[in-house]
């Protein structure tokens, strides 16, 4: 390296030595609240996480094989019902939805029964 490039190099890395920790600190401290609501039963575990002010993540773990022919995941926002998707077998499922969803219902549409009804307590 030439002397001028060495000078630039040294200056850049001294600047980054301050900029990176500051950036990491700000990125962590300004992260939106990630409130987590949980529900657990022998067959399901549900976690609702607020990712930011426009997205909520609903994570459903199906612990045992389903005993229902269909299982639709519905989110309820006051009076609106949103079909988020379906779960079909043992495993993990993620659904991104609106943060205003305050109730999750798992429904067997074929039998016409509610499998689970879980209320999200919003702050």
């Amino acid at each position: 390296m030439t002397r001028s490039l060495r000078k630039i190099h040294f200056f850049v890395w001294r600047f980054l030595l301050i900029a990176f920790p500051l950036g990491i600190f700000l990125a962590l401290i300004l992260r939106p609240d990630q409130t987590i609501e949980s529900f657990s039963s022998s067959d399901f575990e549900i976690n609702a996480t607020t990712l930011n002010d426009s997205t909520q993540l609903i994570h459903i773990e199906v612990k045992n094989p389903l005993r229902y022919p269909s299982c639709i995941v519905i989110g309820i926002d006051l009076d609106k019902q949103l079909v988020l998707g379906s779960v079909s077998k043992k495993g993990n499922y993620d659904f991104k939805t609106l943060p205003s969803i305050n109730r999750i219902i798992l429904v067997d549409k074929l039998k016409g029964v509610d499998i689970l009804n879980f209320s999200l307590k919003k702050p």
């Binding site: 390296m1 030439t2 002397r3 490039l5 060495r6 630039i8 190099h9 040294f10 850049v12 890395w13 001294r14 980054l16 030595l17 900029a19 990176f20 920790p21 950036g23 990491i24 700000l26 990125a27 962590l28 300004l30 992260r31 939106p32 990630q34 987590i36 996480t49 990712l51 930011n52 002010d53 426009s54 993540l57 495993g91 993990n92 499922y93 993620d94």
Partner: protein
């Protein structure tokens, strides 16, 4: 070192180096894909590819950026520097896969151009959690592409070592963009502390290494020598220079390397014409000063590469009084023959 251009000048070292790179890349991807298939069986293959290539490219970038300062601090790391450009091109190829899969996954289903979609689909520039972080990744990939396509001696010779080196120092900008791409992207949604901890360790290691190495070089550049006579400056005793090695000093603008070979001393510019490597940290091999970075060679008495090569560096006058080595810091034009100082 070559008198003509070839796509890659393969030799045994390069083949071993590339096999290790390829083996590591394949091993990483296999472990990542298999472990994710068990841990997160619900995520799609495209998502696994996006995540696997992202983490691998970031890891490789950290390795690449650590090689330079490590080689400055300890010559044991010089073999890693030799073929670093292959590692860089590999990293770019992996980062490209991440970029292409991300654009296809997140931007190709709309009715506007997917590339344009990166810039217009999210305009929350004032928000941290919703910042359009993909734009940062796009520009970082653009810089890495420029570097990858010019990672060849053809471009090095045609652009000139200084411009080429400056262009390739843009990797620091690319690195900054990538770190903020991660901080404003996945870190905003990731609840596990593992990723942010690993990122913190990586960033701290790289910046600390560069600052330590830079500080060492800065101290060398600042060393002042006062004793001057008839334009010559006293440097050291002849015994301080090892056989077939050099002592490097910084007098005016650039560093000078004083080589001892047999009972002779010659001084040349410390800056290799290839990639500005530190000639003074090299050795005399087969009667030629050999750059420690990529093996470019120069004759010590005239700073010229042996025929048919055409590289030349500046030369300096050296003389010996008793056991003291004196040097005139005024450089002669590149390739000028100067008589070697004879050690009695």
């Amino acid at each position: 070192m070559s008198a003509s251009y070839q796509s890659i000048l393969w030799n045994r070292q390069k083949k071993i180096y590339d096999c290790i790179i390829l083996g590591f890349v394949l091993l990483y991807l296999i472990v990542f894909f298999v472990s994710n298939a068990f841990i997160n069986p619900e995520i799609t293959q495209e998502t696994i590819i996006i995540r696997g290539t992202a983490t691998l490219a970031l890891l490789l970038l950290h390795i690449i950026l650590s090689i330079g300062p490590l080689a400055r601090l300890n010559p044991i790391f010089l073999p890693l520097l030799y073929n670093r450009r292959h590692l860089g091109v590999t990293m770019f190829a992996i980062a490209s896969i991440h970029g292409v899969f991300s654009v296809v996954q997140f931007h190709s289903l709309g009715n506007i151009n997917p590339i344009l979609s990166i810039f217009v689909s999210n305009t929350h520039l004032g928000s941290v959690s919703r910042f359009p972080f993909q734009i940062l990744g796009f520009f970082a990939l653009l810089i890495l592409m420029l570097m990858a396509v010019t990672s060849h001696d053809f471009w090095l010779h045609n652009l000139g070592a200084r411009f080429w080196k400056t262009l390739h120092m843009m990797v620091y900008l690319a690195y900054t963009l990538i770190i903020f791409h991660v901080l404003l992207g996945i870190i905003q949604y990731e609840t596990s502390p593992v990723l942010v901890t690993l990122l913190g360790i990586g960033v701290a290691s790289i910046t600390t290494l560069h600052v330590i190495a830079g500080s060492k070089e800065h101290r060398k550049d600042k060393s002042i020598r006062n004793l001057e006579k008839e334009g010559f400056i006293k440097i050291c005793s002849v015994h301080e220079i090892l056989d077939n090695r050099a002592k490097t000093i910084c007098l005016e603008k650039e560093r000078i390397a004083i080589f001892k070979y047999g009972n002779k001393l010659s001084a040349v510019s410390n800056v290799c014409k290839h990639q500005n490597g530190p000639l003074g940290e090299g050795r005399i091999i087969d009667g030629c000063i050999t750059c420690p970075w990529h093996g470019y060679q120069y004759l010590p008495q005239n700073g010229s590469s042996p025929p048919p090569f055409k590289e030349k560096v500046a030369t300096y006058d050296v003389k010996i009084h008793g056991v003291d080595v004196w040097i005139n810091p005024k450089p002669y034009p590149d390739g000028t023959e100067r008589p070697a100082a004879i050690i009695q």
